[in-house]
Amino acid sequence: MEHTIVGYFLQFEIMKNLVEMASSTLGFNASSIIAFIIFLTASLILLLIAATIGGLGTFAERKISADMQMRPGPNRVGPYGIVQMVADFIKLFLKEDIVPVNADRFLFYIAPILAIVGVLGTFAVLPISSGLIISDLNVALFYAVGISSLVGLGIFLGGYASNSKWSMLGGMRGAAQIVSYEIPVILSMFTVILFAGGLSFGAILENQSGGPIGWYLFHNPFTFIAFFVYFIGILAETNRAPFDLPESESELVSGYNTEFTGMRYAFFALAEYMEVFVVAAFASALFLGGYKIPFNIGGDSLIGQVLQAGMFFTKVALIYYVVIWIRWTLPRMRVDNLMTLCWKYLTPIAFFNLIGSAVWIYYFGNKSMWNLIFS
């Protein structure tokens, strides 16, 4: 339990006393129940944060794109239009829910659930700060990769269930694209896991330090390449431009979510924006030092936790900005170029990285190239 949020709370005397008190009043060991309550509260808070992040994602998207095209963007609702996302939510909440008469109703209902569950499942292992990681499983990365494959299934079933040609094309493309780019992404993760020697985020962040020199990005040439492979891969896995073929609005109306209205559409959009957040968080934890701050200012105290969370969100926001920047800069790829890029460029490069890192470990162990140069 030591790598969970409950473990962090149990450091404090007051929590230990609370557990003892509850155990004595209830007559059995109450640590499980206390843990459940803490986990449930944390999960619900996280859900609110996630929904806010999703909303902020849409807002940031519109504001940054407006900035790049030199127009104001949303600016009517609230200061700088920041309440726009609430207005959007209310609008979507009040929209009529239309299920096409020829659609497959059962799959139409469960497709958004699959997409949301696939993203929310990964939130359990999100390393926000050293204490505020809800549960740092020993197979955290493996689990996250596995559970997020539900998103692809949700997109595919959403496209299938609509019984519309646009949706079907979008869903097929989405599934093919998401599964294809999973391979370079996983292989780039291997490059880091080889050096970290563990799948939990605690192990991955253990050897990284606050400064850029301690990051895995600049650990050696192979991880440097792996970062870019990973970054391109996550753009495609989350259906972001220039890989937004499943919902390319100029050819496929809106792709797999053409027939979804109101809240159902909102859940697909939310899942997409939250997934961008999650993969950006993983990118920051794997390659950019995650929540580590230089010289470990603050330590394990509460201030340290806040600083770490701030560091984490800053890095994620930067990656998020780059993702949006790319969207408004590059034109969309053609589908054959997409597959060529995945299978003929990224996958061989990722394999080369994996082999190279394994050889590096064999000769130099865990030493980074700075260690080798300056020693």
Binding site: F36, N102, F142, V145, G146, S149, G152, L153, A175, L199
Partner: protein, 178 residues
């Protein structure tokens, strides 16, 4: 306590989904119920302390096998689409009739009684008080086992995958236009 709750939920999900796979009339629904069953089995693995296996189950089955099964359904399910209604999607890939279900039920009855008889032998012997594997995480133990004791099967599995890749790619390659 929590262990029992997860066990009951996973067991229910597994069994109900498996039964629904048997009785649904729609091949796509069968695949979706299979998804429920697979997730339930992953939950059962968790209750047995096999976290690596649960993650593998999710990654390979849900992310891989299920998706290509749905691909295969899409690639085979749609003949006579344009002239028939969507009824054809339910009927053309025959999902069985009463006769076959009777045979299947009889076979299941026989095997089920034999299996129950076998299970009865161990019914009251291995209870929940027997201790779990004392690994915090199975992944490192499995990793060590894969490169030491079980290295041969590890390498042979790669040969198997190579054969499957080449064979399937050769079989499924589009027919060239004559």
């Amino acid at each position: 306590m929590f262990l029992q709750v997860v066990f009951i939920l996973s067991a229910l999900l597994t069994v109900v989904s498996a039964v629904m796979v048997v009785f649904t009339r729609h091949i796509m629904y069968a695949a979706v119920y299979l998804l429920g069953s697979l997730i339930g089995v992953a939950g059962l693995y968790l209750t047995l302390g096999a976290d690596t296996l649960a993650a593998t189950q999710l990654l390979v089955y849900v992310g891989g096998i299920l998706i290509i099964m749905i691909f295969a359904i899409m690639l085979t399910g749609g003949q006579d689409f344009m002239k028939n209604s969507r009824k054809s999607f339910l009927q053309v890939p025959f999902m069985g009739n009463v006769k076959t279900y009777v045979f299947g039920g009889l076979a299941a009855l026989v095997m089920g009684s034999i299996g129950t008889k076998l299970i009865m032998n161990v019914a009251d012997r291995f209870s929940e008080h027997s201790e779990m594997l004392s690994y915090q995480s199975t992944i490192e133990v499995i990793g060590e086992a894969l490169v030491t004791d079980h290295v041969l099967v590890f390498e042979i599995s790669s040969v198997l995958l190579l054969g499957a890749l080449i064979g399937a790619a050769t079989i499924a390659r589009p027919i060239k236009k004559q």
